[in-house]
């Protein structure tokens, strides 16, 4: 599936939730299910520091695709991180760098991407794109 196809599928999934409780319970569930990042990457080097919750992000390049693993110390942030990984991981660097993550807004989670940087999510999206670009460049050289 393309990045946009995954986004559209998520938008459909979230349309089933008729109140915020159900939506957040689902996000919390995603957070609990997100495979933990390999312990060796859970250190400052891989840390994206938000004002309140922390996000660890690691990227790998395999067969022309970028693979992300991530973690957070806050469970809602972790659920949102899981969504980002679901959408962006396994695509080419070019696709990731050029992606428009419209699903966040459409599923009503825009406030989590506000520039208050409370949760480090906005910084994470930027970092994912930067990783993709960097890995892409490295593979060309």
């Amino acid at each position: 599936m393309t990045i946009n196809e995954i986004q559209d599928e998520l938008i459909d999934d979230f349309a089933f939730f008729d109140d915020w409780m159900a939506k957040y319970e689902y996000i919390i569930q995603l957070g609990k299910e997100l495979p933990l990042i390999d312990q060796q990457y859970k250190k400052d080097e891989y840390l994206i520091k938000g004002c309140q919750s922390k996000v660890w992000l690691h990227a790998d390049h395999q067969d022309g695709k970028v693979l992300f693993t991530a973690d957070s110390d806050a469970i809602i942030t972790k659920g949102l991180v899981a969504l980002m990984v679901k959408v962006l991981s396994g695509h080419t660097a070019e696709e990731i760098a050029g992606s428009d993550l419209y699903f966040i807004d459409q599923i009503g989670l825009k406030e989590h991407l506000s520039p208050t940087r409370a949760n480090g999510l906005l910084a994470m999206v930027k970092q994912m794109k930067m990783y993709a670009v960097a890995l892409h460049r490295a593979s060309l050289s």
Binding site: Y24, I28, C51, K54, A74, I76
Partner: protein, 413 residues
């Protein structure tokens, strides 16, 4: 006094009618505003004054001879005039209007530092300071070759007064402490802090940003040298704050925002400046906020800070008792003397997650480190959830908070 007696004496439902924002909903729920430590809501009296300023007198102050400028200047000076009895200052010209607490502290760090702090001198702060009462001193100490000393706290969040006593010496140039901790609610023993500092020959700055809206302050009785606070945390507009300074210090300090480079090359004794308070008020101030702060002062004085303190204290006790009944909830900051802040952690839940769920329920709290990272490090925690109480909060607000935290616990843990 019996709890019911206090609550009856203070008519919170009448007070709430003065704050139009309290009738709105958030996420479809009635707003429960418990982030008053960050900023308070504004009464209609202050909102009306802002509209009145722009519709009737907008003009620059201290400049023009025309009618509007005179009106604006008079109104601006009314605020200073009202601030004097509000904090019981000896002179009106000891009151400098600034942008807020942060600027007030920066002003002292900068100007007092230039005049009085030299290599090898020491500045004393505490472990519970807000970043705005840490960083200006760090920068000043670095520039002046001085040493910053930090008074530790105990687990309850109270100052270690023995450590403080032992840190004071003839090298101490200034003690800068918070009156009330924004993250813990601790009311510091300011009388003792000041008396001990003075005995060592050092002046004291109190960060009163979290005190002035909750307690009656008498700068002369305290004998405090500098006092800093913000308008927006005391039901007034954003963008105005106060620096009170004893005349003798303010006169001995160079100006803040004019030619710092030049001042270095002249000796202090030979330099003369504008008279107080204008020496420290360079440029066009926030006129609207300056004028409208007077209405917030009137508002507080009409209700009476003693009544406010009693009411808020009852509510704080109620909140503390109710929150402590939630399994796994731990209150951070359990000082004997506290003011209207409950900081807490829910075991197994990140404060951010709790804050997100509470927001969905229309409850505004602050989560995170509250600009007190060293303090959070002291407790070894990433932050807390902080509910901070104001005069318009009710028991129903507390009940909503407790129910919200219970809901968050059921979802997160």
């Amino acid at each position: 006094m019996e709890r019911t007696a206090v609550l009856e004496q203070f008519d919170v439902m009448r007070v709430r009618k003065d704050f139009p924002i309290l009738t709105r909903t958030v996420n479809g729920k009635p707003l429960v505003y418990l982030d008053n430590g960050a900023t308070t809501q504004k009464p209609q009296q202050v909102i009306d004054a802002i509209v009145n300023y722009y519709t009737q007198m907008n003009s620059n102050v201290h400049r023009g001879v025309h009618h509007l400028s005179q009106l604006a200047t008079d109104a601006f000076e009314v605020t200073r005039h009202k601030l004097q009895p509000f904090i019981h200052a000896a002179h009106e010209h000891e009151i400098i209007l600034t942008k807020g607490t942060t600027e007030s502290i920066n002003l002292v760090a900068n100007c007092y530092g230039k005049a009085f702090v030299h290599a090898g001198d020491e500045i004393i702060i505490s472990a519970m300071e807000h970043h705005s009462n840490i960083v200006p001193w760090q920068i000043m100490c670095e520039e002046r070759g001085a040493l910053l000393k930090v008074v530790p706290i105990n687990d309850a969040g109270e100052l270690d007064m023995d450590a403080y006593r032992s840190m004071l010496s003839d090298r101490t140039r200034l003690v800068a402490m918070t009156y009330v901790s924004n993250a813990l609610g601790t009311i510091n023993p300011v009388n003792e802090i000041i008396a001990l500092a003075h005995a060592a020959g050092a002046p004291v700055l109190l960060d009163a940003a979290q005190a002035v809206q909750h307690l009656t302050i008498d700068v002369q009785a305290l004998d405090v040298d500098f006092l800093a606070f913000s308008g927006h945390k005391m039901y007034g507009p954003t963008g105005v704050g106060v620096l009170y300074g004893k005349e003798k210090w303010l006169n001995a300090m160079p100006p803040y925002q004019s030619g710092g480079e030049m001042i270095k090359e002249v000796t202090f004794a030979k330099t003369t400046y504008n008279e107080l308070p204008f020496k420290f008020e360079a440029g066009t101030p926030n006129i609207e906020a300056g004028i409208c702060l007077a209405h917030a002062i009137d508002y507080l004085m009409d209700i009476g800070l003693d009544n406010i303190a009693r009411y808020e204290h009852e509510l704080l006790d109620y909140a503390t008792q109710r929150l402590l009944r939630i399994p796994g909830l731990r209150i951070i900051g359990t000082a004997k003397e506290k003011s209207s802040v409950v900081s807490f952690l829910l075991e197994g839940a990140h404060p951010y997650d709790v804050g997100v769920i509470l927001d969905k329920l229309g409850i505004a709290v602050r989560t995170g480190h509250h600009c007190t990272q060293p303090l959070m490090d002291r407790y070894g925690i990433p932050g807390t959830v902080r509910a901070s109480i104001a005069l318009y909060n009710t028991r129903e607000d507390i009940d909503a908070l407790v129910a919200g935290v219970e809901r968050a616990a059921s979802m997160l843990i």
